[in-house]
Amino acid sequence: MSLEKQLRDYKKIREISPRENEILETVRKSGEAFFASEQDKVLSYHEFLWLQLKVVRKRWWVLQLILLFVLGGVLLAAQEDKYIQRSMGVAATLFVILIIPEFWKNRSCRALEVEAVSFYSLRQIYAARMMLFGIADTFLLTLFCGSVSFSLGVAFKELLVQFLFPLCVTACICFGTLCSRHILQEAVAVGLCILWSGVWLLIILNEHIYTNITLPVWAFLWGLALVSLFAALYRVLAGCNKYWEVSLDGIEI
């Protein structure tokens, strides 16, 4: 008798009745083994980043997109330079103000302490948010500047001076407030950004100042603003674990 025939006959003689309890026990134990091994693993940074992306409220990017659309409309319809300049300045401030709620979320919800003590602490959380907003906003701004440059013929110099420069300075103010030693409220950041908008309007409406600044000077100022922005970003990451060093006991200003 061949081996195969023997096995077939053996199968027919022997009836295997599955024992449900044992099966369930096996399932349970394999589940436990799986979770035990999962528990020992650490969430990778790109998975953490992805989960941060899911947590960030997308409404702010939608509002930024709408704002850029509206600004595009203004550039298309407005005829007087004064209104174009003013609109771009205001839009630049609003664009940055729209990121403030997301960066201040953990402060306004008083969740700083719990987050600071986690494995992926405040530094990684802020870095993740900066990266996500940086990528999204750079994409939106590139798209916007490219579109208005090609379709509306707006000169790059105008965009640099009227839009990107005030935007950069507003971002400096926003992150400068975030990296402050004191826990400053959202309203302070918004207020300072609005104040800057007022100062900017003062500059552009005052021809004696505005017309005397040449393109190289604007480029230098923009470069300075960009460097200050990166410095502020660095300070946010370097100083985010020092909020409790202030003896105000976390009282918000």
């Binding site: 969430l43 953490f48 494995f119």
Partner: protein
């Protein structure tokens, strides 16, 4: 697992919040008792690496916790006194979010969240938004998030604030169960929370450790006795000025006072069995008429 405070000091300008503490902690429950401003929260924040010591160090198995960075926080669970949360998240979403921050992979996170929700008794409220929870339920979520990563070191600052008596008993049992395998530091004003479960109780005042030991040891360390007596209402104010009063109960015709004093304060006073609350008052209490004495 051994945590050591080595000459630990924290100063804010001219103010010394923690003053040259030297302590060692291993597995078990440590209760931290003290009045407001004693330095309990500052100590806990240093333990959780939120504050850097001005002097001294904290080591975990010989390694400085600040140098360990993420590796230390991986084994740490913390519930702060002022526990904040994202109001729009549901309980489940919030705990899953905290799991992300604690570096727990998604599959394990889902199981842990489910287990913790069950453990703290929030199964029915798992899909409720955080802002809709009562104070006690929020606190329970706070406890759950502290334990998500199965921490070896659990630091709880006023964890039972807002919990009803049933919940407090439940919490006590939970901590007892957990402490077999981990180190738990618990700060509270509610003496009964730690009286029965703490392996060691630390009494802290003005940044210094005044006394430490088991509850019975602290009770026996009292150099004064506890007396109960029934007095007329108009005599109460004079007693309050002369002695530390741990309890006052108004009854028909008078007031029953529980007094801490070396000698018998009143002719009908009866010596009573001291409790940990009496110890608290003994070390931290003041008589009315003192500068900061409560009326």
């Amino acid at each position: 697992m051994e945590l050591k405070f080595d000459n630990l000091t924290k100063e804010f300008g001219n103010f010394t919040a923690v003053d040259h503490l030297n302590l060692t902690m291993t597995k078990g429950v440590y209760g931290l008792l003290g009045v407001n401003g004693a330095g309990k929260t500052t100590l806990m924040r240093m333990l959780c690496t939120l504050l850097k010591p001005t002097e001294g160090r904290i080591t975990c198995d010989g390694k400085d916790i600040f140098e360990m960075d993420g590796e230390y926080r991986k084994v740490l669970g913390y519930l702060p006194q002022d526990f904040g949360f994202y109001p729009e998240f549901t309980v489940k979403d919030y705990l899953l979010y905290i799991s992300t921050l604690k570096g727990i992979p998604p599959a394990a996170a889902r199981k842990r969240v489910k287990d913790m929700i069950l453990k703290v008794g929030l199964s029915k409220a798992a899909n409720k938004k955080m802002k809709k929870l009562s104070g006690g339920m929020k606190r329970r979520v706070g406890i759950a998030q502290a334990m998500l990563n199965n921490p070896k070191i659990l630091v709880l600052d006023e964890p039972t604030a807002g919990l009803d008596p049933n919940e407090r008993i439940r919490f006590r049992n939970l901590i007892s169960e957990l402490s077999e395998e981990r180190l738990v530091l618990l700060s509270t004003h509610i003496v009964s929370d730690i009286e029965y479960i703490a392996n060691e109780i630390w009494l802290m005042k003005d940044g210094k450790l005044m006394h430490k030991g088991r509850a019975e040891e602290l009770i026996h360390s009292m150099e004064e006795n506890v007396w109960e007596c029934f007095v007329e209402k108009d005599l109460v104010s004079s007693f309050v000025k002369r002695y530390k009063i741990s309890n006052m109960k108004s009854e028909m015709g008078g007031v029953t006072l529980r007094i801490i004093s070396r000698e018998k304060p009143f002719e009908n006073a009866v010596q009573a069995e001291p409790t940990l609350e009496d110890v608290f008052l003994y070390y931290f209490g003041e008589k009315a008429g003192d500068g900061n004495g409560a009326v």
